[in-house]
Symmetry: C2
Subunit: 146 residues, 2 copies
């Protein structure tokens, strides 16, 4: 499911030609936790949670989510984001930040907004979309601790 999303190159700033070991490092070794969502025992999505910045920034976590193309429209991303917020609080994080939400990824933006994330930054032409050309990316953020 990661391969499909990475090869499409439309939503994540990951090199489409990245090899299996590098994907594993990115999604499973670097993060603090990696989770898999299941529907009827079959993998439907995955997300990671990691510390976004070290030192004075270490109270803010970052997550990445991928839903299997065959499981779209079934609330998997919402369920994973809610789960990740609970995990973040349990791990002691005070906030969650998405560093790079591609502007054309409208469903994701709408979902994150509905779950309490605000757009706190806009990176002009920071993403080269394979079909749309240079588009903006958003920084989205939610304070978890209040």
């Amino acid at each position: 499911m990661l391969r499909d999303v990475i090869r499409a190159g439309e939503t994540y700033a990951i090199a489409p030609g990245i090899d299996r070991a590098a994907v594993r490092a990115l999604w499973m070794r670097a993060p603090l936790e990696t989770h898999v969502a299941e529907i009827d025992g079959a993998a439907a999505g995955t997300y990671y949670i990691k510390t976004n910045q070290q030192g004075g920034g270490a109270h803010v976590c970052n997550c990445g989510y991928v839903v299997d193309t065959r499981a779209r429209g079934r609330g998997v991303a919402r369920a994973m984001c809610l789960h990740s917020q609970a995990r973040a609080r349990a791990l002691g994080y005070l906030a969650m930040q998405f560093n790079f939400v591609v502007e054309t990824n409208r469903p994701a933006i709408a979902l994150w907004e509905s779950l309490g994330f605000a757009t706190v930054g806009r990176l002009p032409r920071a993403f080269r979309h394979p079909h749309e050309g240079l588009v903006d990316a958003r920084v989205m953020y939610k304070w978890l601790a209040d």
Copy 2:
């Protein structure tokens, strides 16, 4: 000079207790280039340049700058930033992004603004300053290619 800045913990989101090897990895191995500024043959500052995001985000670079405490107020940061912008253009980058400029680092913000960087994001309470408590961090950005 890196040790002084990292131990102070006031401007970079780097763990103050980071060891020498990790600093080397962060400042010299992960980046594409690392430069040293000299005044009369003595090191006065250093900066790195690296790709900020992979894949569709790989046309945007990121830099980090540190000025030796004994060389403050002599234009070293300005000179390094101008040099880094020239290097960025030469390397083919279209934009430069600073991911995490701590709000209390007023001299840096004023300098980046004077050099054409705009604040494109504001991360609420994203940095725990050792003396000021939780403060905002800015995302700053400059398009280089126009």
